[in-house]
Amino acid sequence: MFDKTLAELSRALEAGETTSVELTRAFLERIEKYQGELNAFITVTADEALAAAQEADAKRAKGEAGPLTGIPVAQKDIFCTAGVKTTCGSKMLDNFVSPYDAHIVEKMNEAGMIMLGKTNMDEFAMGSSNETSFFGPVKNPWDTSKVPGGSSGGSAAAMAARLAPATTGTDTGGSIRQPAALCNLTGVKPTYGRVSRYGMIAFASSLDQAGTITVTAEDAAMLLNVMSGFDERDSTCVERDVPDYTKTLNDDIKGLKIGVPKEFFDDGLDPQVAERVRDALKVYEGLGAEIVDVSLPNLGLSVPTYYVVAPAECSSNLSRFDGVRFGHRCDDPKDLLDLYTRSRGEGFGDEVKRRIMTGTYVLSAGYYDAYYLKAQKTRQLIAADFTRAFEQCDVLMGPTTPTAAFGIGEKVDDPINMYLNDIYVNGVNLAGLPAMSIPMGFVDELPVGLHIIGNYFAEERMLNVAHRYQQETDWHKKLPSKFA
């Protein structure tokens, strides 16, 4: 059962072919077996999961089950979970037991889903390789000497090895799509404001968005049906009806206009990845879609813009970690300043400190206009490029990452090189658009992803486009042999 999709598990539960307790046990056993090798989890909530599974089975026996009742899920450790340690991958929160549930956790619990545990991640979601976690790096199940991507690397590794049938992630600058691409999964970042950020530990509030990492687009649709929607506790959550994303998956895509930005095929792109994109576009042409050449002339500005805006917002958001109300506190502070500086200096890792300092600098007196204000202007140019491109097409496509997974330790001393790995994904967050990555084949036995970008609130169409590809191909069904 471990290699089934959510949709298949939902049908199996409905048909009485399995129970939630049986499924939950099976996944917990796989976690126990592979955790040592992959380090995909920070916390495993086995006892709570089994108790919840029994409840789910009882609910089903009474005829009260929904499509996701009794199905296990692993939550990225950035989402607050009541009574369960919520670390955000940091020493700073190693002792933090959340007093409440994040909005999406609440929604998944209401739907009867069973939380298996909390997945590993880059510290405070700052990283593209899952190497900045206080709890150690996560290994890519396709090749354990490679990174799984980040920051949702634990969720991606857990999914790729099928230690859970569904996982959640967050995407501030590609943190769902990039690991999904490097681990052969379907990763969806909804439109900014589509899913409530309540209880999701903040990194960069104008960019952060919660989403899913699953096997198929259909599974993502099932989860987004539950996660999306208005929540007054997030002031940027958009009041807008949520369609049933599963209803339109099979819609015809004949005449669909696929925009292919030429800037996605730059010198940094591995020619083999480019070839896989062209193969995928051929599949779409076979389905009656039309390829349109488009341009995003300011795309090259997206990474430098991102590395002003995101650190600026992070330096502000992370000022709450002061060693007073929660989180790490240093021993024997001699005064209040010493308490703040040492608690933060000890509690945060190198990459987080680097970003806080970058943000502090770009927001400081005398530099604000040159950096932050300038970046919010270039951000406007980047967003306007996308708006213009969408006048010519329905979706945009390209590679998710320039290369397949890189080696653990390979880029850790070179922040700029690491940042440039997100060159195709950062722009989407700056513009606030929905986007996803789906499996599109392999380069030297490592998976690579097709990036699909939708127009604002056009998740329905984007999922439909991804689903149709997955009906024609079986890349998403491939499992790393060691975990099959």
Binding site: L207, T236, P304, R325, K353, M357, T360, S364, Y371, A383
Partner: protein
């Protein structure tokens, strides 16, 4: 952009971060490279461009100013490093 050790110390102070003396050269080098990298933005023509305030160009939703939270002080203070009589304890601030 070459950062001097004093620059790193001053940024760290503004950010309320203690950093070890021996790590300063690495921060100076890394931060210098990051600032060089983001300095590319200088060349972009942004004359007459409004800075983005919200990715969807929406304005902030407001709510009525009434109490909507219940008092959960004890629950929340379970995560505090040091409390006494319902108060968070910090080193003496006023002599």
């Amino acid at each position: 952009m070459a950062l001097k050790p004093e620059d790193v110390k001053s940024i760290a102070h503004l950010a309320r971060l203690s950093i070890r003396e021996e790590d300063i050269p690495t921060y100076a080098d890394n931060l210098g490279r990051i600032f060089d990298f983001v300095n590319q933005l200088e060349a972009a023509d942004t004359d007459g461009v409004e800075p983005m305030a919200h990715p969807l160009n929406m304005s902030q939703r407001l709510r009525a100013d009434h109490v909507s939270e219940t008092d959960q002080r004890e629950l929340f203070q379970q995560n505090a490093p040091q409390v006494e009589a319902g108060l968070y304890l910090v080193p003496k601030v006023i002599e």
